[in-house]
Symmetry: C2
C-alpha cells in the first residue's frame, strides 16, 4: 500500500521534496494545500513554472537571465554603458539592483574559479568578458565577486587577463557592515577594514 | 522594469510564494533551482502536481483522499471492518497509519465543530457517519478527534448523535507523552492523565 493511501499524492510529494529546502513534511503540506485549493490554482502555478523554464534565456550580452535575447538592463538606454560590473551569479545582479546605487551594465561570469569543485577559468565567461573589454566603450570594470578565497582568486585571475584594458579596474569595498559594532566584527573583516581605510569625507 | 529583469521569473516567484510557508526569498530560490536544472525536471514536477490535483478523489466510503472511488484502506480485505475510527482530517489518517497500531477502517469528518470559524455540524460528514453506524456491521466507533475544545465539542455532539448505536463508542487516551517527565507536562494534560488512570498491567 502507498504511504499516503494515494499513489498520485505520493508522487507529487516525492517530486516536491526534490526542491531545495523542502523535506517530506513540507512537501506533504504543499501538496495538501494544492488539493484544498481550486484546480485552476495548480494549473496557474504549473503554467508559470513551465513558461519560465521553457522561455527564459540568457542575455547574449551580459548572460543575466532574460525574457528577450538582450536583457532589460543591457537594452535600457538610461543605463551607463561605460561601466561594467562583473558578478559571479545572476542572484548578485538582483542583490546589486536592489541597492539602487548602480546604474551601469553587468557581466555574469557564471561562478568563481574553484579547483576543489572543478570549476576552472574555461568554465566561466571570461573570454566573453575579455571581448567586451575590447569592443565596448568601457571606462571602468568593477569586480564584484564574493569575498571568499575563490572570489579573490578569480579577482586576481581577471586582473591578469584584463591587463591590456585601458580603463580602470576597481573592486567593491570589504569592511564592517553598516550598523555593526566593531567588537562583534570578525578579525579578518575588521583587519581588511583598517587596511583599506579611506579619506574621511563629509 | 521587472524586479528580476524577467517577467517570467517574477510570475513564477509570485505563484510559488502563494504556497504556505514560502516567502519571496524561498520562492526565488526554488525558481532559480528549476532554471538551473534540466527542463524536463520542471515538466515532471508540474505533471505530478496536475495529475494529483485532477485525479485524486475522496473515497466514497470514508472520505479519505484516494486514487480510486473506494480507497485502498476501505477496499483492503485484511482490514477489520468492525471498527471505525472517526478523524477530523485526512492528515490524521496518515498519522494513525504511521503508528501501525490500528487495523480498522476510518471516517474522515472534514473538520471539527467550530462556531468561531463558522463550521457547524452540517458542514461535517456526520450524516454519513450516522448512516455507516446503521448500515455497516460495526462493533466499535473510536472518536479520534484533536484534543482541543473543538475536538471535545465534536466528541460530545457525536456521542449524542450516535446514541442509538449498538456497539461501543471509545475515544483515544489523553495523557502525558511517552518519554515525558511529569514535571514538564502541562497541568491540564497531567490532570487528565491522573483522572483517566487505568489498571496497571504487565
Amino acid at each position: 500500500m502507498a504511504e499516503y493511501s494515494s499513489i498520485l499524492l505520493e508522487k507529487a510529494v516525492d517530486e516536491l521534496s526534490k526542491l531545495p529546502g523542502v523535506g517530506k513534511k513540507t512537501a506533504l503540506r504543499l501538496a495538501l494545500h494544492l488539493l484544498a485549493e481550486d484546480k485552476n490554482k495548480t494549473d496557474i502555478l504549473c503554467k508559470s513554472l513551465t513558461d519560465m523554464r521553457n522561455n527564459i534565456v540568457l542575455c547574449k550580452k551580459c548572460y543575466n537571465i532574460s525574457d528577450e535575447p538582450v536583457c532589460s538592463i543591457c537594452s535600457n538606454p538610461k543605463r551607463d554603458d561605460n561601466i561594467l560590473c562583473v558578478v559571479a551569479d545572476m542572484r548578485d545582479v538582483l542583490a546589486i539592483e536592489r541597492t539602487s546605487s548602480y546604474n551601469g551594465l553587468y557581466h555574469v561570469l557564471g561562478g568563481t574559479i574553484n579547483p576543489i569543485e572543478g570549476i576552472s577559468p574555461s568554465d566561466l565567461r571570461i573570454n566573453e568578458l575579455l571581448e567586451r573589454s575590447h569592443k565596448e566603450n568601457l571606462k571602468e570594470i568593477i569586480l564584484a565577486l564574493p569575498a571568499t578565497i575563490e572570489g579573490d582568486t578569480t579577482n586576481f585571475y581577471l586582473s591578469k587577463v584584463l591587463k591590456d584594458f585601458k580603463g580602470i579596474i576597481t573592486t567593491i569595498a570589504k569592511g564592517i557592515s553598516v550598523g555593526d559594532a566593531l567588537e562583534y566584527a570578525d578579525e579578518l573583516t575588521l583587519g581588511r577594514s583598517i587596511a583599506n581605510r579611506i579619506p574621511y569625507s563629509k
